[in-house]
C-alpha cells in the first residue's frame, strides 16, 4: 500500500505539485489524468522516491519511503517510464533481465529463476521471439512493450506506468491493460497509470485523479470524476458523455 500524504514538489521556487493526497490500495488501479504540464510525470516520479518531495510524506507499507534503500523500493515498486533509447547493442532479454537487478546480489549473474521469470514476462507481452533482438533496432511500440515486460519481471506489487500505451496499436493496448488488471486482481498488486486516453482510463481504472497545474481537481471513481464540467475545467474542451455499450462506464466523445 502506498499512502501519499499532502505532498508538494518544487522545481526551484516553482511549485509543480501542490498538496496532493491519495492512497493506493491493493487490487486497485488509479489513473492520473490531466493536461500537458499538469505535473503527472513529476508526481509519478515522486511515488518511488526518484524525485524528492518538498512537503508532505509518502508511506510505503506504513513506513516512510525514505527509510527504504533503492534496492528495497525496486523490489516493491516497478516503473514503466516514457521510453529511453540506448546507444549500446543491448538485447531484449538482457533489458528485461535488468528488471531482476534488485533481486540478485550486486555482483554475479542472474539465476535460472531470473531467466525463467524474464522469459515468462516476454511471453505475456507477446514478445516471445524478440529475446535476441537488439533494443535499438525495435520500433517504438515494440520497445514500449519490452519496457513493460521488464516492469513485470520485477514481480513488484506496485506498478507505476507513464503513458504505457502511447505507441501501442489497439490490440497491444488491450493486452497491456488486461495484464495490469489481471495482476491487480490476482497478485494483490496495484497500479498508477498516467494516460491521455480518457476512455481507457474510464474502462480500466478503479479510481481517477484529475490534475490541473499540480493540484487535484477531482478524485474518485470514473463515474464521479469524468463529468462534462470537470473535463471542461481541466482540458478546456467540450465533450459529450454517454455510457459504454458493454460496461456502462462513462464514454467520452470529443466535440471539435
Amino acid at each position: 500500500m502506498l499512502s501519499i500524504q499532502n505532498i508538494s514538489i518544487n522545481y526551484g521556487t516553482n511549485e509543480v505539485i501542490k498538496e496532493v493526497d491519495f492512497t493506493l490500495r491493493e487490487n486497485r488501479i488509479v489513473a492520473i489524468l490531466g493536461a500537458n504540464g499538469a505535473g503527472k510525470t513529476t508526481l509519478l516520479k515522486a511515488l518511488n522516491g526518484s524525485l524528492r518531495i518538498t512537503k508532505g510524506a509518502i508511506l510505503l507499507d506504513e513506513k516512510p519511503l525514505e527509510s527504504f534503500s533503492r534496492r528495497e523500493i525496486a523490489k516493491k515498486i516497478a516503473v514503466v517510464a516514457q521510453e529511453n533509447e540506448t546507444k549500446f547493442p543491448v538485447t531484449v532479454l538482457e533489458f528485461v533481465l535488468s528488471g531482476r537487478f534488485a533481486h540478485g546480489g550486486v555482483f554475479g549473474w542472474e539465476t535460472d529463476n531470473d531467466l525463467q521469470i524474464a522469459e515468462n514476462a516476454l511471453e505475456m507481452c507477446d514478445l516471445k521471439d524478440f529475446e535476441s533482438r537488439l533494443m535499438n533496432e525495435l520500433s517504438g511500440g515494440e520497445r514500449q512493450r519490452v519496457v513493460f515486460a521488464r516492469a513485470l519481471a520485477t514481480e513488484a506489487g506496485i506498478l507505476l506506468l507513464d503513458e504505457p500505451t502511447a505507441n501501442l496499436d489497439l490490440s497491444h493496448q488491450a493486452i497491456l491493460f488486461r495484464l495490469v488488471r489481471e495482476r491487480c486482481q490476482t497478485c494483490n498488486s496495484s497500479a498508477v497509470i498516467i494516460t491521455h486516453d480518457l476512455n481507457l482510463a474510464s474502462e480500466f481504472a478503479d479510481q481517477i485523479l484529475l490534475l490541473k497545474r499540480g493540484q487535484v481537481v477531482a478524485n474518485g471513481t470514473p463515474d464521479e470524476v469524468l463529468t462534462a464540467e470537470n473535463l471542461q475545467e481541466v482540458f478546456a474542451v467540450e465533450v459529450f458523455l454517454d455510457g459504454h455499450p458493454v460496461s456502462g462506464k462513462p464514454r467520452i466523445t470529443m466535440s471539435y
Partner: protein, 342 residues
C-alpha cells in the same frame, strides 16, 4: 504480432545469435574467449620482449644485452600492458556510465587533466617523484568532473554536448600545457612532446609496479560495479528505478577511472584512443554486458598497447615513434566512423 513462428528458421537463427550477445547463456563460450585472450596476451608479451632494434633472446646474453632486456625492454613491455589495460577499462566503464560509446579518457580531457597534473608535479616538485601519479590523479579527477558537469543538462546528456565539453576542456588544458612547456628549458622539450603524445620509452620498474597495483584494484572495483553499469548504460533514471544507488556508483566509476588514467598518464603520457577502440571491439564480440566487457577490455587493452608499442619502436628502428601516434592512427578513423553511425 508473431511475425516469425517459433520453429521458423529465422527464429532459430535469432536464438543462435542470442548466444553471441546474451547475458548468462553460455558461460563456456565466455570462458573460452577469456582464456584465449590471456594466452594471446602472454604470447604477445614474449614476442614484444624479444623483438626490437637490439635482437635479444633469453639465453646467452652479454652483460649489456642483459641490461637492455631487464632494465629497459621488460619494464617497457610490461608497462605497456598495464597502461593499455588501465585505459581500456577506464574507457569501457566511462562509456557505460555516460551512456555514450564515444566517451574516451583522451577525448574527454581526462588524460590531459592527468598530463597537466604530472607536469605541475615535475615543474614544482621535481624531487618528489611519488607526487606525479598523485597529482595526475587529481588532474584527471578534476577534468572528469568538470566535463561531466558541463555535459549534463536537465534533459540528460547527449553525444554532442559530451564531445564538445570534452573538446573544450582538452584544448583548454592543452594550451596550459603548452604554456608550461615553453617555460621549461629547451632540452626537456623533445621528451615532453613525445610524452604528451603517449610514450613508453621512459618506462621504469616503479612506474610498472604502481600501474600494476592500480590496474588490478581498479579493474576489480569497476568489474564489481558492472551489473549496476548494465542498468546505468540504459538510463540513469531507469537505473535508479530498478534499484541502483546511482550516486554511489557514479562516484566509484569516476574515481576508479581517474586513478587508472592518472597513473598511466603519469608513467607514459596520454596514449589516446585505446579506451575507444578496445571496448568497441569487445562489444562487437561479446555484446554489451559490462560483466564481460570490463575484464575482457583489460586484457585486450594490454595486448593492443604492447603490439602498438612494438610497432612504434621497430618500424623505423633504431629511431622510435611515440606509441600514442600509432594508437591515434588507428583510433581516429574509428572515432569518425562511430560518430557518423550514431
Amino acid at each position: 504480432m508473431k511475425t516469425v513462428g517459433h520453429n521458423h528458421p529465422e527464429a532459430k537463427i535469432r536464438r543462435e545469435q542470442s548466444l553471441s550477445s546474451g547475458a548468462s547463456h553460455d558461460p563456456h563460450r565466455f570462458l573460452k574467449i577469456g582464456v584465449g585472450l590471456v594466452i594471446l596476451l602472454i604470447l604477445v608479451l614474449f614476442a614484444a620482449i624479444l623483438l626490437g632494434s637490439e635482437k635479444l633472446s633469453f639465453f646467452d646474453l652479454s652483460e649489456s644485452q642483459s641490461a637492455i632486456l631487464f632494465d629497459i625492454r621488460i619494464p617497457r613491455v610490461l608497462l605497456g600492458a598495464t597502461v593499455g589495460a588501465s585505459l581500456a577499462v577506464a574507457g569501457a566503464s566511462l562509456q557505460a556510465l555516460l551512456r555514450n560509446p564515444l566517451a574516451e579518457p583522451y577525448l574527454l580531457g581526462v588524460s590531459n587533466g592527468a598530463a597537466l597534473g604530472t607536469m605541475l608535479a615535475i615543474a614544482f616538485f621535481a624531487n618528489f617523484e611519488f607526487l606525479r601519479p598523485l597529482m595526475a590523479f587529481g588532474g584527471s579527477a578534476v577534468a572528469t568532473f568538470t566535463v561531466y558537469q558541463m555535459a549534463k543538462s536537465r534533459a540528460g546528456m547527449n553525444v554532442e554536448r559530451l564531445v564538445l565539453s570534452g573538446v573544450i576542456i582538452t584544448t583548454l588544458l592543452s594550451s596550459i600545457i603548452v604554456l608550461l612547456t615553453s617555460l621549461l628549458d629547451a632540452t626537456k622539450l623533445q621528451s615532453f612532446t613525445f610524452w604528451l603524445l603517449g610514450d613508453l620509452s621512459q618506462a621504469t620498474k616503479n612506474g610498472f609496479y604502481l600501474t600494476l597495483i592500480v590496474v588490478v584494484f581498479g579493474t576489480a572495483l569497476l568489474a564489481s560495479q558492472a551489473k549496476s553499469l548494465n542498468l546505468m548504460m540504459i538510463g540513469e533514471r531507469d537505473a535508479l528505478d530498478f534499484g541502483v544507488e546511482v550516486t554511489r556508483v557514479r562516484l566509484i566509476i569516476f574515481a576508479a577511472a581517474a586513478a587508472l588514467v592518472g597513473t598511466s598518464v603519469a608513467s607514459s603520457g596520454s596514449v589516446g584512443y585505446v579506451g575507444l577502440i578496445i571496448p568497441h571491439l569487445i562489444r562487437l564480440t561479446v555484446g554489451s554486458d559490462n560483466r564481460l566487457v570490463v575484464p575482457f577490455s583489460a586484457i585486450a587493452g594490454a595486448i593492443f598497447v604492447v603490439l602498438a608499442d612494438t610497432v612504434a619502436r621497430t618500424i623505423i628502428a633504431p629511431r622510435e615513434l611515440p606509441v600514442g601516434a600509432i594508437t591515434a592512427l588507428i583510433g581516429a578513423p574509428l572515432f569518425i566512423y562511430l560518430l557518423r553511425k550514431s
